[in-house]
Symmetry: C2
């Protein structure tokens, strides 16, 4: 029940979801499996579907017609643009940070 279980997170759920949807439309459960595999982070259902709903109301993802009991989502152009910007920031920050770690400390 604890938010982020007192750990230092390297990415928030919304970014993980956008990153997963960047590969193509997926429904919620498929996103959970994808992030588990690709980011080694297991999103609980509350986290996933809550974040997904917020992303939708911000116009960053869009719900697709959906068959049976699955509710598939796809990333929008705005979502892809925002994701690209965030990923570039992450790439730059991680590169600089790792360089700092290599350089510094006796």
């Amino acid at each position: 029940m604890a938010r982020r279980k007192s750990e230092v997170a390297w990415a928030d759920p919304t970014l993980l979801i956008l990153g997963s949807l960047a590969a193509g439309p997926k429904h919620g459960y498929a996103i959970i499996l994808d992030t588990k595999e690709n980011a080694d982070i297991t999103l609980g259902p509350g986290t996933l579907y809550g974040a997904l709903a917020r992303l939708e109301e911000r116009g960053l993802v869009r719900a697709l017609p959906g068959q049976e009991r699955r509710r598939p989502y796809e990333i929008t152009a705005a979502g892809a643009a925002l994701l690209a910007a965030r990923l570039k920031a992450m790439r730059s920050f991680s590169a600089h940070g790792l360089a700092r770690l290599r350089t510094a400390r006796p």
Copy 2:
């Protein structure tokens, strides 16, 4: 007053702080200036000092003797190890995500 002001964040404050301290010991205000410059994120005092206190009680940063009214901190070995792991995850995720964006979508 809203947590993360309804935006999609690409890094949480604790990671930004560790990244800043990786370059060497700093006091709080210097961390604010550093993250503003290097990550283009302005941490408010509440965010910064709150996160710093949590990092300290988790043994990821350590308070130094400190002159005058400054309270300098340095990253611990545990903090550096955790930072390295998180930065590698970020680097991998951002690389894969950007590749996905380049490949996909009509």
